[in-house]
């Protein structure tokens, strides 16, 4: 179904169930959908699994969500940062589960979810502690680990511009996980700087086609409301 332009952030995250797996875009703060995450905090869903590259920076966005205690598990590649004190505290207190996934596997596992791939043999992490419990297979003289898709119930991502149908373009390295997560979740909510009329984006330059997008919120629209 083509996307719906929502009146505000709360509408974009409405209906998130307890126990949901939520994919959260961004690499550090670039592409982080802070306002959608804030809306998810207000929405109140608990027992969440969060899939994101990092585990929150400072005290806002993802870090603020973690601080509510409503996140059961984080799947990410790089939780430890200079300003990841919220996650660090929860982790050391044993109050949050962590699955560390190499960044390439994290991206590829979500891509697989979006592409209908059942599983794939990845060259990354062979012979390392992160290979524990994974099936190893030799193919053409090289060893690979079997990796499974990561599906989301909800994806929260940030893009630069959307058209009313839901086509998206991003800005510079803020693109990062957005296009991949948009393919991997049942419901995809996107916050953008602005929404333009359908037909205003160059069809050759669309990065996320409308088919992947369900709900759109525009920053400018929000502030005007």
């Amino acid at each position: 179904m083509t996307a719906r332009v929502c009146a505000g952030y709360d509408e974009a995250v409405a209906g998130t169930a307890d126990g949901a797996t939520v994919l959260v875009g961004g690499f550090g703060m670039a592409g982080m959908p802070v306002e959608l995450v804030d809306a998810l905090i207000r929405q109140g869903a608990a027992d969440l699994t969060i899939v994101s590259n990092n585990a929150g920076n400072g005290d806002t966005g993802l870090a603020a969500l973690l601080a509510t205690g409503r996140v059961r598990k984080v799947i990410c590649s790089f939780p430890r940062q200079s300003d990841s004190w919220v996650f660090d505290g929860l982790y050391r207190a044993g109050r949050i589960e962590l699955e560390v996934v190499p960044q390439g596997n994290l991206a590829e596992r979500m891509r697989a979810a979006g592409a209908g791939i059942g599983a794939f043999y990845s060259p990354t992490a062979v012979g390392t502690p992160l290979a524990e419990g994974k099936e190893v297979r030799e193919i053409d003289g090289r060893s690979y680990l079997l990796e499974y898709p990561i599906h989301g119930d909800l994806a929260l991502i940030k893009a630069h511009t959307a058209d009313r149908m839901g086509n998206l373009v991003y800005r510079r390295t803020a693109r990062n996980f957005g296009p991949v997560m948009a393919t991997a979740a049942r419901t995809v909510a996107v916050q953008v700087d602005r929404v333009v009329e359908t037909g205003a984006l160059d069809p050759e330059a669309v990065v996320t086609p409308s088919i992947y997008v369900d709900r759109i919120v525009a920053a400018t629209q929000e502030s005007a409301a």
């Binding site: 179904m1 083509t2 891509r111 979810a113 979006g114 592409a115 209908g116 791939i117 058209d163 009313r164 149908m165 086509n167 393919t183 359908t198 037909g199 984006l201 069809p203 050759e204 669309v206 086609p209 409308s210 088919i211 992947y212």
Partner: protein
């Protein structure tokens, strides 16, 4: 003879157009749809104006428009049947791996395919006659069959020899297992799947007669299309 032949073709086209109309009426507003090569492309002509249905073509485009004519023909803008088409506002282009990821990842709401045969549980045979001299060619058929959320088939119910194409088990080589959900034909519309065959609609024949002609397949008749229900409505 050539006149007869043309008449045959026109009538075939009329039949296909009628089926296409039935299918077009079923697409919900804003759904993402792939129309298979050949007759299924006719469905596009019968979509109501402003239906909001977005067409996917597996060679790499969303929001494909109608066939191109005259100056609008662009050899770089074709559909999966290699026919020149147009672009609608809100279109997007992508490469083959992205296009099939979109399809195989279950993002298309519906695809409409032609078929040689469909089995009672929804197996599809539409890519190969099995004739030993035929050059095998599958294209995107197998990906579409398992990729779209709902796979609808559009076909005449009987082949030229009068044998039903809705069968207990496909005898032609398979395209996909248990993938078809609906079968739209000139004589009726059927639901197929794990619960077997159900007749949803009939055209120019009574439900009971149609079911008789489909033996040995068991067909349950939807309450609304029994001869009694239709008689009561008359």
């Amino acid at each position: 003879m050539s006149t007869d032949h043309r008449a045959d073709r026109r009538s075939k086209h009329d039949i296909a157009a009628a089926i296409a109309r039935d299918i077009a009426a079923e697409h919900p507003d804003g759904s993402y749809v792939n129309l298979g090569i050949g007759q299924p492309t006719l469905v596009a002509d019968h979509l109501p104006a402003g239906s909001g249905v977005v067409l996917h073509t597996e060679n790499g485009m969303l929001n494909m428009g109608p066939a191109a004519h005259g100056d609008d023909v662009d050899p770089d803008l074709i559909n999966a049947g290699k026919v020149a088409v147009t672009e609608l506002p809100g279109a997007a282009y992508f490469h083959q791996a992205d296009s099939f990821a979109m399809m195989r990842g279950g993002h298309l709401d519906v695809c409409v395919l032609g078929a040689f045969q469909v089995s009672a549980r929804g197996d599809l045979a539409n890519w190969h006659t099995g004739a030993p001299e035929a050059v095998p060619a599958v294209g995107g058929a197998m990906d579409l069959a398992i990729g779209a959320r709902r796979v609808w088939v559009m076909m005449t119910l009987f082949d030229k020899q009068g044998a039903p194409k809705l069968v207990p088990e496909c005898t032609y080589p398979l395209t996909g297992l248990a993938c078809v959900e609906r079968v739209y034909t000139d004589l009726g519309t059927f639901a197929v799947g794990p619960d077997g065959v159900r007749l949803l609609d009939v055209h120019g024949i009574t439900a009971q007669d149609l079911v008789r002609r489909l033996a040995p397949i068991e067909v349950r008749i939807d309450a609304a299309v029994t001869d009694e229900a239709r008689a009561a409505r008359r």
